[in-house]
């Protein structure tokens, strides 16, 4: 895992070296004299050889000093920490939705194999994989705005509600904070604002998860121990939901780690459409403004998060699968 982190840091460092913007010129300000540029270079350590600059880069990154954003003129780490809860809330909710809906769908499909619901379910999975998430978001916005007029299409909470019933920020996750506070109006507003973005983000994920659940359930149902249980007269219900399901869930859990990563990437698209104040929208604005330090900061953070999630998933996998535990 540390080796991978090392590789990630090397890759991101190489990207910073080939970026066209000159950090010294930005540091020195507008229209610097050659001497000021030289001083700026020495300050930032740009005159040192590559490997020393790499070590400096590692040191800064570990300390969380990602530099200053060109667009917001704030330290990037402060921007990131500020926008993080919104993205975390959205991505986590999306994963939960796709698991809660996708796994039963997949299992249902597997159990009633080759029937009409199964084929419908597989068709749905196929569509889910092919739909561009940003387009789906826009279609949902069209639907909500033009036809239903019930769901808001941007933001996290209605501005009127945030003034009349201000949210006491404890965790940064509006859904939790409003519940803790007992702020019912704000909770309703937060829920209604998060539904569309979460639906958009979970759609592709849902399709993938249900596909995985279906195929792993089918594989498990073919196993000998299932056949033996049936031969012994164990009820079909018990077999399915106690023995088969547990085994089928294991590969599905590992898929969650992968899904989290793709949702992190997808949050860039979805947050920009729904004007969701999270890191995704921050990256999108940074690209718009050519704010390279901010882009690199987010890249490192997202990569680190992805690695962390996969590590946690591996640990969970070891926990629920006794074979892995005992083989160590």
């Amino acid at each position: 895992m540390t080796l991978v982190l090392l590789m990630v840091s090397i890759i991101t460092f190489l990207l910073t070296t080939i970026a066209p913007s000159d950090p010294a010129a930005q540091w020195a300000g507008t229209r610097p004299t050659p001497e000021q540029l030289e001083t700026a270079r020495k300050e930032l350590g740009l005159d040192k050889p590559v490997y020393l600059r790499y070590l400096l880069y590692i040191k800064n990154t570990a300390r969380g000093e990602f530099g200053t954003s060109i667009r917001t003129r704030q330290p990037i780490i402060r921007d990131l920490l500020g926008y993080f809860p919104a993205t975390f809330e959205l991505v986590t909710l999306s994963i939960l939705i796709s698991m809660v809906v996708g796994i039963p769908l997949g299992i249902f499909s597997a159990v009633r194999r080759e029937s009409v619901p199964d084929h419908l379910g597989r068709l749905f999975s196929l569509c889910g994989v092919g739909v561009p998430s940003f387009w789906l978001g826009m279609m949902l916005q069209l639907f909500a705005y033009s036809m239903l007029k019930t769901f808001p299409i941007q933001g996290r909470i209605a501005s009127e509600v945030s003034f009349s019933h201000p949210v006491a920020i404890k965790t940064g996750l509006f859904l939790l904070d409003t519940l803790i506070q007992g702020n019912w109006a704000a909770f309703k507003s937060a829920i209604i604002h998060i539904i569309l973005p979460a639906a958009t983000m979970s759609f592709a994920c849902l399709a993938f998860v249900s596909r995985m659940a279906r195929s792993s359930m089918i594989e498990v149902m073919r196993e000998d121990y299932i056949r033996t249980s049936k031969a012994f007269g164990v009820s079909e219900q018990l077999i399915r939901y106690k023995y088969a399901l547990k085994n089928a869930l294991v590969p599905t859990v590992t898929v969650v780690g992968l899904a989290y990563g793709s949702l992190l990437g997808g949050s860039i698209l979805v947050e920009s459409i729904f004007d969701w104040p999270g890191i995704g929208r921050y990256v999108w604005l940074s690209i718009l403004y050519n704010d390279f330090p901010a882009i690199m900061g987010v890249t490192i953070i997202f990569a680190a998060m992805y690695l962390l999630i996969n590590l946690i998933v591996d640990l969970i996998y070891a926990f629920i699968d006794p074979r892995v535990r005992y083989s160590r």
Partner: protein, 294 residues
């Protein structure tokens, strides 16, 4: 082998072809996928003749007819500066297919040799290649292309190269797994024992037996490449206006699509159809090429 006389080779070849044709015909979804991909190829190839307003894809403006709904003259309607969306979607097919093929080819070009080498020679080289691949795979899907795009600027070439640079490790892994199986086969051991050189073994035996999962994955990836490229273009890293590219068209429509739904619906449908088509094709190829399923 007295049976293998001159005429027999033709018959064996023809029997193989008709066997594969039978397999293809049996698989309805594969035929659907092939039909979709075929349609995309035809549309891309004959775009200037299919599109009623080919100039709209390259820069013509006709502001008088801006934002007209879909109708008999403008099948998909017009956008905010009066360009026929149908023509632009048709021309966008060219861009998307080219970029998709480019991405997959570059990723294959880098990933396949590395996978072969890592799998066949093993040892320290294998370790090194796998560590580098793991480093690239540690990034969430769109993020590395975005960072590369931020560093190198925005153009379709950068779009293509950036996504390919994020994807090649998958092929390394895929091919390496296959090579690890293939190199333990008896015919490889036999070849080695009579002194056939390593590079000959790789070319003659290993590649042909390891390649089918890669072909399946590559055809699946063509669809995902188109999706990824459109997503990057949507963010801004990719084609620049007035180029007709699906992701860019959806981005440009963001300002008015709420009241003019057709500006974003049709490019999105195009992306969707492409991905589904290549997905069905890839799945179908897997069904044909995988001996277990036959």
């Amino acid at each position: 082998m007295i049976l293998l006389k001159e005429g027999t080779r033709d018959v064996r070849g023809r029997a193989l072809v008709s066997y594969y044709l039978f397999l293809i015909r049996r698989n309805k979804l594969l035929m659907l996928g092939m039909a979709i991909v075929g349609m995309l190829l035809i549309v891309a190839a004959f775009a200037p003749w299919i599109a009623p307003f080919p100039g709209d894809a390259t820069g013509d403006m006709n502001v008088l007819v801006k934002l007209t709904p879909p109708g008999p003259e403008y099948y998909f309607g017009t956008d905010n500066i009066g360009r026929d969306i149908f023509s632009r979607v048709v021309f966008g097919t060219r861009k998307s297919l080219l970029v998709g093929i480019g991405i997959v080819l570059i990723a294959l070009f880098i990933g396949v040799p590395l996978g072969l080498v890592a799998g066949y020679f093993g040892g320290k080289l294998d370790e090194l290649i796998m560590r580098i691949s793991d480093g690239f795979l540690a990034f969430p899907p769109l993020l590395l292309p975005i960072a590369i795009g931020g560093a190198l600027g925005t153009s379709m070439k950068v779009n293509m190269v950036a996504i390919a640079l994020a994807w090649w490790p998958w092929y390394v892994r895929l091919l390496r797994a296959q090579v690890l199986i293939t190199r333990e086969q008896l015919y490889v051991t036999a070849a080695k024992s009579i002194g056939v050189k390593d590079h000959t073994i790789i070319v003659r035996h290993i590649i042909s037996n390891s390649i089918s999962p890669v072909i399946v994955q590559a055809s699946l990836d063509l669809g995902y490449a188109i999706l990824a490229s459109a997503s990057l273009s949507f963010i801004g890293i990719g084609a620049k206006p007035p180029v007709a590219e699906w992701g860019l068209m959806i981005n440009e429509a963001r300002a008015y699509f709420l009241d003019f739904w057709w500006t974003t619906t049709f490019p999105g449908i195009a992306i969707f159809v492409s991905v589904i088509g290549f997905n069905l094709l890839g799945d179908g190829l897997r069904d044909i090429l995988d001996p277990k399923v036959r």
